[in-house]
């Protein structure tokens, strides 16, 4: 008998079709952590909804949660499709996967706008600094001076996903590295508990087109330069275990659903609930030339998109029938009277 989780499902039930991405691609590691997180949290696959745009990264929702509904949409347009779809059934948990090209080149407009709408969704950007699927062109997150086989050197400045998210009022902002499985998994779990938009910028190396050791999105560089803000862990509501809280050493963030994020101090104490701090920290990471990872910013207060629109949380909108949607016959007289 294979192991099952609290809802009686084997881990296999959380997998999707076999991956067709390159062996060693960072995106596969992230898919595996999505599977693991969903299994660990004992989510019912039918309670999850998946979204993606176009790219190698955006293909990956095929390779996890095969029993969940999903939409592999258009290049750069995933946020709009997700925004509309979230209204169908407010009880579903949404996981979206995009690429750096998908979200910071063609799709930067939709990326910014879904942030300001605080759509309740985990939004993972599998960031490799290149276009994988179209074979190795620069994306907007590529560092200035990066040299690629058929492209020469990149003359432009990079876009920083985290900075963009912070200035767009994102309510959950984290950065991680596909090579750090534990941190990726715990962040995904926490993001799933966030009632709002959770941005995860995960450095996810493209082993085929951008993995030279000195490239900012390579395994080599990320391993060498990763500098976690804290030791991050997530405690689901049901498993309220005793966590030893030491003043000045441990921080706890309580989520809407009662679960907690536990942050253990590493070098310095870092308060992720202060946006100005967060920006300073990113700035500092440039100066120190490190890959800062962990929960950079969180604010559990703002309304989510669905709250802003006063949506029913009990009965999904897509199960309402005519009696709740079509005004009664008498209403037509009122309408005609309103005309002249």
């Amino acid at each position: 008998m294979a192991k099952v989780n609290a809802v009686g499902l084997e881990k296999n039930e959380y997998r999707g079709a076999p991956t067709t991405l390159c062996a060693g691609c960072g995106h596969n590691s992230i898919s595996n952590q999505i599977i693991q997180a969903a299994y660990d949290l004992s989510l019912i696959p039918e309670d999850v909804i998946k979204f993606s745009g176009i790219g190698c990264s955006s293909k990956s929702p095929t390779y996890f949660l095969g029993r969940s509904f999903g939409f592999n949409s258009l290049h750069g347009r995933m946020p709009s499709v997700a925004t509309g779809a979230l209204f169908g059934d407010a009880r579903l948990k949404a996981v979206a996967v995009s690429g750096d090209g998908d979200s910071t080149n063609i799709g930067i407009g939709q990326f910014k706008h879904i942030l300001r709408r605080n759509a309740p969704m985990v939004y993972i950007i599998e960031n490799n600094g290149v276009y994988g699927l179209t074979k190795g062109q620069f994306s907007a997150t590529a560092e200035q001076g990066l040299t690629l086989k058929y492209q020469g050197a990149n003359p432009y400045m990079p876009v920083d996903v985290i900075m963009e998210a912070l200035v767009s009022q994102a309510t959950f902002v984290a950065r991680s590295f596909a090579g750090d499985a534990t941190q990726v998994r715990e962040l995904i779990k926490a993001a799933l508990s966030h009632d709002g938009l959770a941005i995860l910028d995960i450095i996810s190396p493209c082993v085929t087109f951008n993995n030279a050791d000195d490239a900012r999105h390579s395994y080599g560089w990320a391993k060498e330069h990763q500098d976690p803000l804290h030791d991050f862990s997530f405690v689901p509501f049901e498993e309220e275990i005793e966590v030893e809280m030491v003043e000045g050493e441990t921080r706890r963030v309580t989520m809407h659903d009662g679960s907690s994020i536990i942050l253990k101090k590493l070098d310095e104490d870092y308060d992720p609930t202060n946006r100005k701090n967060a920006m300073d920290m990113i700035q500092q990471s440039y100066e120190e030339d490190v890959l800062m990872t962990g929960l950079i910013y969180i604010n559990t207060e703002p309304d989510s998109l669905l709250d802003m629109h006063g949506l029913s949380q009990d009965e999904p909108l897509n199960r309402l029938g005519q009696e709740h949607l079509r005004p009664k016959k008498e209403a037509i007289d009122a309408v005609n009277a309103m005309m002249f």
């Binding site: 309670d47 509904f69 946020p79 925004t83 509309g84 169908g88 059934d89 029913s312 897509n318 005004p327």
Partner: protein, 609 residues
């Protein structure tokens, strides 16, 4: 057929009265606040029982450029734009000369005495009135004076052509929702102006209104408001949009009205959401997402937005996602004439999307039909699992139309082939999202939130098989595309049938669609007066239903009349019926104005001779 013009002297001496049969145009400056005055005139005449239509010809500008508002009164019930101006009220110095020239011989020209121009015509009646002084004397605050000056022409006209003061009062009452202060202020100017006219002006032209019973059971409405109200009765659950003239008022009317009619139907929370998106890509993206998630969803836009929606239209077609798109057309290409009307998006929308995309279109022709298609489009989209485009235009969407009252939907909502947990429990064999179980090309659909372990599927624009699995196999692709065209064929039976108007002994046929309907009807009467009888088929949907083919078969010659340069519907008909191409004659007008009957009948006559 030309309008019989009289000289001023003839008019005066004959004492002939031309009653309820003229066009009256007010020339003002954009942003000068004349809309209340114009609507007051229109509504008062309507309440006198006179069939009227009101059309605003406005520039793409907020303030300062010329704008004209034309009211046609027609005892015969013709609502199209009339090509002549029998009465003109000039309030704009910039267009004074042109306005003066436009009055038909024997017509009437009114102008505010603050406009100091020479009058170089003696074949018309000319009246001048102290608009500014009347405004000043009204005691209106200085900031409101220019606006109130527009009420002066309402009063002068009321006296000179005979509009019932009680009805004017009623119109103001409606406009200001019964608020006493503005009603009193405006009515004061109108009455003072009417009195002034009675004392100072002598009627020299033949144009009058008289109460009649031509508006019994009718309402006045604009197509965009009607569309929004129809959508509300259609159970719209999601709407996303981006502002653009002439479509904005669809979403705005939805926003303003939906709560009134829907909030008491469900206690658990809102049953709808309306989002002003960042652009039209996002507008249709959101609508498509909502449609895929099982909501009745829509977006509304005009040509430039349609262009941006192209990629998503293809995705909606290929992923088989229901979504309703209102295209309130304006003149293109490019920014074109953004505030003028056209039927110029027909071929683009028919094939919107790359690859072999075919789309469904509906063509409303009056405000009541905008209401009807407002709800019906959802039924069709969900039944066929495809985007449905409703092709309105600026004239229909933004102008005031006399129309039949809106009718409550005569059928229950059709949610199409959506299956839930219980259905899948009883499902025979394996469920496949794109499996043609019924042989009609329309597969069964599950939507997110369905808890059955076999319900989920991954939607995509890439090649997929009957079970929605990714495939790049050529035969899978062909198989699916062939089913899609079969589905499109099936769709015809769910589309609105053409309206056919036959005349005994007709020798020619006319095909037209949308807002040109009043002009075509009137043109048919004009042709008949000249002994040319035409049968007329008004298209209501595309792809064409069988009656269209039969109609063309029955006639030797069929004129396809439309408002674009290239004869776009003529092109679609030619594609659909290549064997009958020789019978089809394209008649097109694309000057940005609503079609008029005289031009239409003359264009057809010219072809016949």
């Amino acid at each position: 057929m030309t309008v019989q013009a009289m000289t001023k002297e003839e008019a005066q001496s004959s004492g002939e009265r031309i009653v309820n049969d003229f066009s009256m145009t007010v020339a003002t400056m954009n942003g000068s606040g004349s809309q209340t005055s114009n609507l007051t005139l229109l509504r008062a005449m309507f309440k006198m029982g006179i069939p009227v239509s009101g059309k605003n010809l406005f520039p793409s500008n907020i303030q300062g450029l010329p704008t004209w508002y034309t009211i046609r009164a027609s005892k015969d019930g013709y609502l199209a734009r009339r090509e002549t101006h029998e009465i003109i009220v000039a309030m704009n110095a910039d267009t004074f000369g042109q306005d003066l020239e436009s009055v038909v011989p024997g017509g009437a020209f009114y102008y505010g005495d603050h406009l100091k121009f020479e009058i170089n015509r003696d074949d018309i009646a000319v009246y001048t009135f102290p608009a500014k002084k009347l405004a000043k004397d009204s005691g209106a605050p200085a900031a409101l004076r220019d606006y109130v000056a527009n009420m002066a022409y309402v009063g002068v006209l009321a006296h000179m052509i005979g509009i019932d003061m009680e009805q004017i009062k009623g119109a103001l009452d409606f406009h200001f929702s019964g608020k006493e202060k503005p009603i009193a202020l405006n009515m004061g100017v109108i009455e003072a102006a009417a009195e002034w006219a009675a004392e100072n002006l002598e009627k020299q032209d033949p144009y009058y209104v008289e109460a009649m019973d031509g508006t019994e059971g009718k309402i006045m409405a604009d197509g965009n408001t009607a569309a929004a109200l129809g959508a509300i009765f259609g159970g719209v659950q999601f709407a996303s949009w981006y502002p653009i003239t002439p479509a904005s008022s669809v979403a705005e009317a939805l926003t303003i009205n939906i709560g009134k009619y829907r909030d008491d139907l469900y206690e658990g929370g809102k049953t709808y959401a309306i989002i002003q998106s960042e652009d039209e890509l996002a507008a249709i993206g959101m609508a498509l997402g909502a449609g895929w998630a099982g909501l009745r969803s829509m977006t509304s836009t005009s040509g430039p937005g349609i262009s941006l929606m192209t990629e998503f239209a293809g995705l909606a077609y290929y992923s088989e996602t229901p979504v309703v798109i209102w295209d309130v057309q304006r003149v293109g290409p490019s920014t074109g004439l953004p505030t003028r009307t056209a039927q110029g998006d027909i071929t683009q929308v028919a094939f919107l999307g790359h690859g072999d995309t075919h789309n469904i279109m509906l063509f409303p022709a009056c405000a009541q039909e905008c209401f009807e298609f407002g709800w019906k489009a959802f039924d069709i989209a969900e039944r066929v699992q495809a985007p449905v485009f409703v092709m309105s235009d600026l004239d229909l969407g933004m102008n005031q139309w006399m129309t039949d009252p809106f009718e409550y939907p005569d059928v229950d909502m059709d949610r199409g082939k959506v299956v839930w947990e219980q259905d899948l429990e009883n499902w025979e064999g394996r469920y496949g999202r794109y499996l043609d179980k019924d042989g009609d090309g329309i597969p069964y659909r599950t939507v997110p939130g369905n808890k059955h372990p076999k319900s989920a599927w991954f939607a995509r624009g890439t090649g997929h098989d009957e079970y929605a699995a990714y495939t790049e196999r050529g035969d899978d692709w062909e198989h699916n595309m062939e089913r899609l065209i079969k589905k499109y064929d099936t769709a015809r039976q769910y589309l609105p049938e053409s309206d056919i108007f036959e005349k005994e002994g007709a020798t020619i046929g006319i095909i037209a669609y949308g807002s040109t309907h009043p002009a075509i009807e009137e043109a048919c009467d004009k042709l008949e007066e000249d002994d040319l009888k035409a049968d007329y088929l008004r298209l209501r949907s595309y792809p064409f239903r069988d009656e269209v083919q039969e109609f063309i078969q029955k006639h030797d010659k069929v004129y396809v009349v439309e408002m674009n340069r290239d004869g776009q519907m003529h092109q679609l008909l030619s594609l659909a019926y290549p064997e009958m191409v020789n019978k089809l004659v394209s008649i097109t007008k694309h000057d940005g104005l609503p079609l008029n009957a005289r031009w239409t009948s003359e264009a057809i006559q010219a072809e016949e001779n």
